[in-house]
Symmetry: C2
Subunit: 375 residues, 2 copies
């Protein structure tokens, strides 16, 4: 299996406003994206990869700053999502902070950064933005949409919103909506950011400061919930950093040191308004809401074939949530495969290179590829 | 079953310094406590109730402000811990903020509030302070020590530290130490408090402010971890407060409203330095550490009879942690009973009136009472 080597992001501008679920419109925007592999003559081998909270268009390969793509273990020549056979698209969602139009960019209405005035955007809005990009790339129908966590929600939304434009949906460690507990963790993270005095109601750019305290707390909460109790026990346990208790409130345990480091690092590069916006998109995703909460009715008219994958120790997007989706699809006699992977890594498992997990994805993509000639 | 009616706290002063595990000493201190029922002639019917993070000496009855004790459903005339038969003692631990000497009290060395200079105190230190109080009350041996969560850790520590002075140990929803995940949540709560600009390094009293933002975040995190995903789903689910999404970051979901309310309420009355101190006592409790982590060796020489109770949906102090204790006691052929209660309420279950749970405690206290005459 090889690496894609150096990859270069591209940018596409959209002057037609994007109508949003909130009723607002995104006036004028651009999307940053990367593609890997070649589109075949039939334009039938395109796979869209949707990102979750803390990721971007940079899915695979090495960017100009030397950073490896976030799903590089999955996507590349000879890898489960094989770029020798597929044309893979990674796109940064609007509202994010990695290139596409977001809160730190100028609001055309005022000329100043959007900040807190950037409209609240939803999973469905992202899918609409992605569909315009896919269309402009000349792709009438995607071979597959794949995503993990929030990315999986986008993959599900594609099949509901554009049933004729996607043949396969691969949702990893995802859910039909967030539970109260998940919303609670998001809310705590948002409160930590919003109540940070350096947040300035979301207009901190103008004050030359960053709400680092709040972002750090938000990231620490996120980290704990992405891991399992088991893996934290194995990785850190009760190990002390210096071998003895300090009888104070600085770092005693290695887990404290790890979390502080993760929080600090994150607060250097992640945008606070983007954090609010993306957690809200997670909270709001609930396609069954307009069907009286009936998931089977929600998925009645879809046309894609589904693969759902969950991980036994994932308590944020538990296997039970994937099984709800499987049940809704089976009720409708749709095509669905489901793999529940016994992995210790909690929600983070969807980003890791587990042999059984990647084996399932490889088999799935092999089957998808068998339907078309190599490019 | 009756109520104890109005109860009045008492106070006891200790001029002999309390040596602490850290090497520091608590110079001169007082303990606030309440007692219910009457000590029998043999002084053999005393039960000590140890409190957890957010509680106090006010275990049962109604105080002068009209507040019900935190374990009033368990303690009172005719209740499972029957004050017609037992002499029950509730004591506020030093370092807490409900009457006993704590960070908001004057440091005799400076005349100003201790604030951040209040020494870090441990479960073992609390037990030493409690044992002095019990001694002064003329009780050579307790019939039982009972506590839930952090209170259960104190009950365990009593049997290790004063094996001849306690006949029964009842530990509910407790653990032999905290897991890395638990320490992580405590650390996030502490960072939220310490990085609040109004914390002023723990000396906020002198600035006339309270670190409300940090305390609010800390309490919100606590609340989510005390409940189970199930009970949050049942109690709140995805219900909206106003029936429609706001497409903003104010309260949309009922769970958000609940958490904000709990956080705000808590930040009005709870001391920030106490929060740091009590979460650190939780982190530091690990009696097996000085026995190479061997829990069986740790509990080799104890003399008490044990009852341990856990709750199936408690993910903060899970049944598996209680079973570790049971195994260590059984290995040593000590007396131990264990009840795993199938309850949906998570860690909070230890404070609730569940028929099976209270039935187990009633049976246990009936057996204990059968050994002595009523007072």
């Amino acid at each position: 299996m090889g690496s894609l080597g150096l990859v270069t992001p591209q940018s596409m501008h959209f002057s037609e406003p994007l109508p949003l679920r909130s009723g607002a419109r995104l006036a004028d925007y651009q999307l940053t994206y990367e593609t890997y592999g070649a589109l075949n003559a039939e334009r039938s081998n395109a796979v869209l990869v949707c990102h979750a909270l803390n990721a971007s268009h940079h899915v695979a390969g090495i960017d100009v700053a030397g950073r490896q793509g976030w799903w590089d273990n999955l996507v590349g020549p000879g890898k489960p999502l094989d770029t020798d056979r597929f044309f893979v698209i990674g796109v940064n969602n609007p509202g994010s902070c990695f290139g596409s139009t977001g809160p730190m960019h100028p609001n055309p209405a005022t000329g100043r950064p959007y900040g807190a005035d950037f409209p609240v955007i939803t999973v469905e809005d992202w899918v609409d933005a992605q569909s315009r990009l896919v269309e402009r790339l000349g792709i009438a129908q995607l071979a597959a949409v794949i995503g993990g966590s929030l990315g999986g929600m986008q993959a599900l939304a594609w099949t509901l919103r554009y049933p004729d434009r996607v043949r396969h949906c691969i949702g990893v460690a995802t859910a039909p909506n967030l539970s109260a507990e998940n919303i609670a963790f998001n809310e705590i993270a948002r409160r930590a950011i919003i109540t940070d005095p350096d947040f300035h109601g979301g207009h901190f750019y103008a004050h030359g400061v960053l709400p680092r305290r709040g972002l750090t707390i938000a990231r620490m909460i996120g980290h704990v919930t992405y891991l399992s109790d088991d893996v934290m026990g194995t990785k850190f346990g009760r190990r002390l950093r210096s071998g003895a208790l300090s009888f104070g409130y600085d770092v005693d345990f290695e887990i404290e040191s790890y979390l502080r480091h993760q929080g600090d690092k994150f607060s250097d590069y992640f945008d606070a308004n983007t954090y609010l916006l993306i957690t809200r998109a997670l909270d709001y995703f609930d396609p069954a809401a307009e069907h009286g909460g009936d998931l089977a009715r929600t998925f009645a008219a879809v046309k894609a074939r589904y693969l759902l994958v969950s991980f036994t120790t994932d308590w944020r997007f538990s296997p039970a949530r994937s099984r709800e989706l499987v049940k809704a699809l089976v009720t409708n006699r749709h095509h669905v495969s489901y793999a529940e992977i016994d992995a210790p890594h909690g929600h983070d498992a969807f980003l890791l290179d587990d042999a059984r997990y990647h084996g399932v994805l490889r088999t799935c993509f092999d089957r998808i590829a068998s339907a078309f000639a190599s490019p």
